[in-house]
């Protein structure tokens, strides 16, 4: 019994920290509808800054905490300004994706400025004491007190101040609020500042309670998002209830079962709640997208492309020839890297298909790639002579099944909520790979020997793998072009362009959303299978959240619905890190900046750019022709 009480107490302490982080996310979300993914990075910077102040300048904990919170708040203000002013015409979903870019960039900044090593902050109260058989750690109590104070202060702000009132008004009905003179800009920026200061404070708390390093705050953020889902996304009290619930639950799980399983359970919990009770335990606001008329369709990402057949056969042939010829040309990177590039292109195509036809952001495509990669690795490890097409198909099928599962359970979700569900998938898949150690090799992953094409033909040498990958990519592209012109593709287009009209024309939005997701998953799984053949190794962490973000970047760079864009985007995200490999971390900074820039300047990517130029050229031609006519007509008179 005392163990249980002990564990509950522990859970409340860590839960309070999750709640504080969650509050930071909620405040911005409620006021601006943007999910701030960079919250964790700001907290990390704050934690390191506090450590620096305490170690380097000898400042006491309290002072370091306050300074770190101020800096964090200002940083948040800058991010908020970026999102509010520079991305002013983008949808909240697009803005949230932009914060992913900020997350990447700030992560690099933190590593550059503060180094890679984790640090533990000095604690003002150390040691532990016993009361009635229960051990309390001095610092744990201190952290809990600070966390609950922060929670209390936040509620005071929300309930009792004018700013809080403004935030609540904006959250419930933006137009009316603005009509009553509430400044969207000022309130939003104030929300960003306060929320980031809160997040920064939590970074310091975690830094002293556990440690500061470059991954921990992201994990805490994840748990806080879980807390928000549990408590009811979008309410402050939900954040608190959810945070405490997740903290206690995970603590009990750690104490009685295994610390390893608790992750699995928490993420499965997220998915379960998103399915059955998307409003969370407390949430009142309906978060599911009504399929009714009236509300506008959930805001989508930039204009999708349509997988047009290439206009010039010769330019296509030139690109194809180039790809075929790469092994024979002097190439700056190993052929292996180019093979990875082509396999990545397959993955990019899969996400491009999804984003183009459903307008959804999937943060979880890495999970589908992982499923495909492991399927092939497991098959090859058990049955080394398996012909390649069996492994490829099996991987596609496995990923399709997972995709179908996720698609079915997230039918009522869209936008941010769908994105979170896909995020949860990444961690669920990771956990499964970690836990079923006997099959999957656990953290060490699976190694396959030299892969085999059929029976006796061994795939040694990079060239044969390169060509195999190129052929598969070509087949995938051909299949996509055919598919998008088929009745299935037409239904997808109908659902994308005007879902209500589609529904009223007998095209079921739900089943087509699922079918789009299933096809996308199958292709992603295929990509994963290819990657296993190329890299001959798979681990649970290879295709993680970062990978998924990079794939999103590739889709946006190339423009969805464009095969050339997909290849270009894939080339960017797979070759740049290789080029930069000896000065690591720079990739993150570059990609983060690239993502934000693209969203601001060219959200439809390269494809959009090319189409835009073409339209302009055509317009000029038409105007020219028209003016010729007029001149001609005039001269005839």
């Amino acid at each position: 019994m005392s163990l249980t009480i002990q564990l509950v107490v522990d859970g409340i302490i860590i839960g309070a920290v999750y709640a504080v982080v969650g509050l930071g996310v909620v405040i911005v979300f409620r006021t601006t509808n943007v999910l701030n993914f960079s919250q964790g990075a700001v907290a990390t910077i704050a934690g390191y800054l506090a450590w620096n102040l305490m170690e380097g300048s000898g400042l006491p904990y309290g002072v370091a905490l306050v300074v770190a919170m101020l800096v964090g708040g200002l940083l948040g203000l800058a991010i908020g300004a970026l999102v509010t002013f520079v991305l002013v015409r983008s949808s909240p979903l697009t803005k949230s994706v932009a914060t992913l870019g900020v997350f990447l960039f700030l992560g690099w900044v933190a590593r550059r400025v503060f180094g890679d090593v984790g640090q533990v902050l000095d604690r003002p109260f150390a040691g532990s004491f016993e009361v009635g058989g229960i051990f309390f750690s001095g610092h744990g109590l201190f952290v809990a007190v600070l966390a609950f104070t922060a929670i209390g202060a936040t509620f005071l702000l929300i309930e009792k101040t004018r700013l809080g009132l403004a935030m609540r008004a904006l959250a419930s009905d933006e137009e009316t609020a603005r009509g009553h003179g509430i400044s969207l800009v000022v309130t939003s920026l104030a929300a960003w500042f306060f929320a980031s200061a809160l997040g920064a404070g939590s970074g310091v708390l975690v830094g002293s309670f556990i440690q500061v390093d470059h991954s921990i705050m992201n994990i805490v953020l994840l748990y806080s998002i879980a807390a928000l889902v549990v408590g009811g996304f979008g309410t402050a009290s939900g954040a608190v209830v959810g945070g405490l619930a997740v903290g206690i639950f995970s603590s009990l799980m750690s104490g009685f079962a295994s610390p390893s399983y608790k992750n699995t359970f928490v993420f499965a919990l997220i998915l379960a709640i998103l399915i059955f009770r998307p409003n969370g335990l407390l949430g009142k606001a309906a978060i599911t997208v009504p399929e009714t008329v009236g509300g506008e369709d959930h805001p989508r990402l930039p204009r999708p492309g349509t997988w047009k057949l290439p206009r010039s056969v010769l330019s296509t042939a030139a690109i194809a020839l180039l790809i075929v010829a790469i092994p024979f040309l002097p190439h700056p990177f190993s052929l292996l890297s180019y093979s990875v590039m082509l396999a990545t292109a397959v993955v990019v195509v899969s996400l491009s298909l999804l984003m183009g036809y459903s307008g959804e952001i999937s943060l979880g495509h890495g999970a589908l790639v992982t499923v495909g990669a492991y399927t092939t690795a497991l098959i090859l490890a058990q049955f080394p002579g398996t012909p390649f097409w069996i492994a490829l198909l099996a991987s596609a099928a496995a990923a399709a099944i997972v995709g179908a599962g996720l698609g079915l359970v997230t039918l009522r979700l869209s936008g941010i909520y769908f994105a979170i569900a896909t995020l949860a998938l990444i961690y669920v898949v990771q956990e499964v790979a970690l836990q079923f150690r006997e099959f999957t090799g656990g953290a060490a992953g699976i190694n396959i020997g030299s892969p085999v094409l059929f029976g006796d033909i061994v795939l040694t040498g990079d060239r044969s793998i390169y060509y195999m990958t190129a052929v598969i990519l070509a087949l995938v592209l051909a299949a996509v072009v055919v598919l998008t012109r088929s009745p299935i593709g037409q239904r997808w287009t109908a659902v994308r362009d005007a879902p209500i009209a589609a529904e009223s024309s007998g095209v079921s939005v739900k089943s087509n959303k699922v079918s789009a997701f299933v096809v996308s998953s199958a292709i992603a799984g295929l990509g994963g299978s290819l990657l296993t053949y190329i890299v001959t190794f798979v681990s649970p962490f290879d295709y993680d959240l970062f990978y998924s973000i990079f794939v999103i970047l590739a889709v946006i760079l190339g423009g969805s619905g464009s095969w050339a864009g997909a290849i270009l985007g894939a080339a960017f995200i797979s070759l740049v890190p290789v080029a930069l490999s000896r000065s690591s971390g720079l990739t993150d900074a570059l990609f983060g900046i690239a993502l934000v820039l693209l969203l601001v300047v060219a959200p439809s990517g390269l494809r959009g750019f090319v189409e835009h130029r073409r339209k302009r050229a055509e317009q000029r031609l038409t105007t020219f022709a028209a003016s010729q006519e007029i001149d001609g007509a005039a001269s005839e008179n």
């Binding site: 610390p259 024979f328 060490a444 040694t460 681990s539 962490f541 490999s581």
Partner: protein
């Protein structure tokens, strides 16, 4: 239309040049052959003729060696190892080389990410064409790369990884691999033996990370426990991303085990602290990383009195001892890297020294340096002791380190709890 024609022309030109280039240039990548790299490039046991180029050694006798060592990412402290190794090679070069050979050491940052380790290995072996790998770091990476190293017979010298990966009993050691780290299981057995004999422990709790390194903990403990009459009462594995250590500490305290074996890299001090916070009072059994520097500091920073309550093990002489060879390293390292961790870096220095020593023994009589010749030298070692290492013996198996020592926590540091002991496996 004119635009169209130009596009057509350009495309034709590009296509034509591609075809020409394809016919012309050779191929620098590994080819569709079924022979391994050793068949192609000469790193076999067949002796090369004098005057023939030796892989990895340039015409002016610069020996190219390399390793993957995390310099960024969560294990970035390990960069100290690369620095120390490079320091040793630079020292040798500054002294005019070894019997006419100078050395070029390349370390590739794999960020302790096994996927990147695979790339690093290929790059070193296929692009940089090194003579040998010297002291690559990381158990996770080694697991990923093992097959590749075996298939290509890559000379792998003194890797810092759990030896049971490369030197596994089922598969046998690869021909060209020579170890550095004793089987972690042996070091665990050594410490547990001491704990049973000197401190009379009967029950053991094991706390470890869920990764290749961490899993050696419970495996080693359960291998040794029956022989020592030890009962394992609790085993907890946690993930790298753990944020809530308190429950783990509670479970340890609840188990009331006489000793606690902690086997992990990240989060290890946090779990120790969590256990102590929960009132755990038994003996702490810690991996060799705690011998000094980063880990030791974090341990002593804890507000708990660990006097006589913690043990660790070493298989070379640590920097705190007044061994002259070791002190030479300490002085040089601290001069070059005042902010660095001289404790952590030490293995790099030792590994480099071992290599240079082997080169010296091979070429002292004027013989040419080739891999088979070096290999023969290594095979002859029965009790080599360089730069602090001891008892390096490659005649039994090629794991190398055959002796270790248990150290006890006293006065904020470590003192010898035993003398040098040969691991049980080599005395049977």
């Amino acid at each position: 239309m004119q635009k169209h024609a130009i596009t057509r022309l350009v495309s034709l030109v590009i296509a034509a040049s591609l075809v020409l280039a394809a016919c012309g240039s050779g191929d620098t990548d590994s080819d569709d052959t079924t022979t391994t790299a050793s068949g192609e490039t000469g790193a076999t046991d067949a002796p090369t003729q004098p005057g023939e180029p030796v892989r990895g050694i340039s015409d002016d006798n610069v020996v190219s060696v390399g390793a993957w060592i995390a310099e960024s990412g969560p294990l970035a402290v390990v960069a100290n190892i690369a620095n120390a190794a490079r320091l040793r090679f630079d020292q040798a070069n500054d002294e005019g080389g070894v019997n006419g050979y100078t050395f070029d050491f390349t370390s590739i940052d794999d960020q302790s990410d096994p996927a990147q380790t695979v790339n690093a290995a290929r790059e070193l072996w296929e692009n940089d064409e090194v003579f040998a790998l010297v002291h690559p770091y990381g158990s996770g990476g080694m697991t990923a790369v093992e097959d590749y190293l075996r298939e290509n017979d890559v000379p792998t010298l003194f890797p810092f990884a759990d030896s049971r990966i490369l030197f596994s009993e089922e598969e046998g050691a690869p021909d060209n691999a020579y170890g550095f780290v004793p089987f972690y299981g042996d070091t665990i057995r050594l410490m547990l033996e001491y704990a049973v004999e000197e401190q009379g422990i009967e029950t053991l709790a094991v706390l470890h990370s869920n990764d290749v390194l961490g899993e050696a903990g419970p495996d080693g403990a359960s291998a040794a426990a029956p022989d020592l009459g030890l009962e394992i009462v609790e085993e907890i594995g946690y993930d790298a991303g753990e944020t809530n250590f308190a429950p783990l500490g509670r479970r340890v305290a609840e188990s009331d085990a006489d000793a606690l074996l902690v086997w992990s890299f990240s989060g290890s001090t946090q779990v120790i602290e969590a256990a102590l916070e929960s009132g755990y009072e038994g003996l702490l059994v810690l991996h060799d990383g705690y011998r000094g520097g980063f880990f030791l500091n974090s341990l002593t920073a804890l507000p708990y009195d660990l006097e006589g309550r913690a043990i660790t093990n070493v298989w070379w002489t640590p920097v705190t001892e007044s061994d002259s060879e070791v002190q030479e390293y300490v002085d040089l390292f601290n001069a070059a890297y005042p902010e660095g961790d001289v404790n952590l870096g030490q293995s790099g220095w030792i590994a480099a020294s071992l290599f240079l020593d082997a080169v010296d023994q091979t070429t002292a009589d004027g013989s040419e340096l080739t891999w088979p010749a070096l290999k023969a030298t290594l095979d002859s070692w029965t009790d080599e002791a360089i730069a602090g290492s001891r008892g390096i013996n490659y005649t039994a198996d090629r794991v190398g380190a055959t002796q270790g020592k248990v150290r006890l926590f006293e006065d904020g540091g470590w003192v010898d709890a035993t003398d040098w002991v040969t691991y049980a496996r080599y005395t049977e």
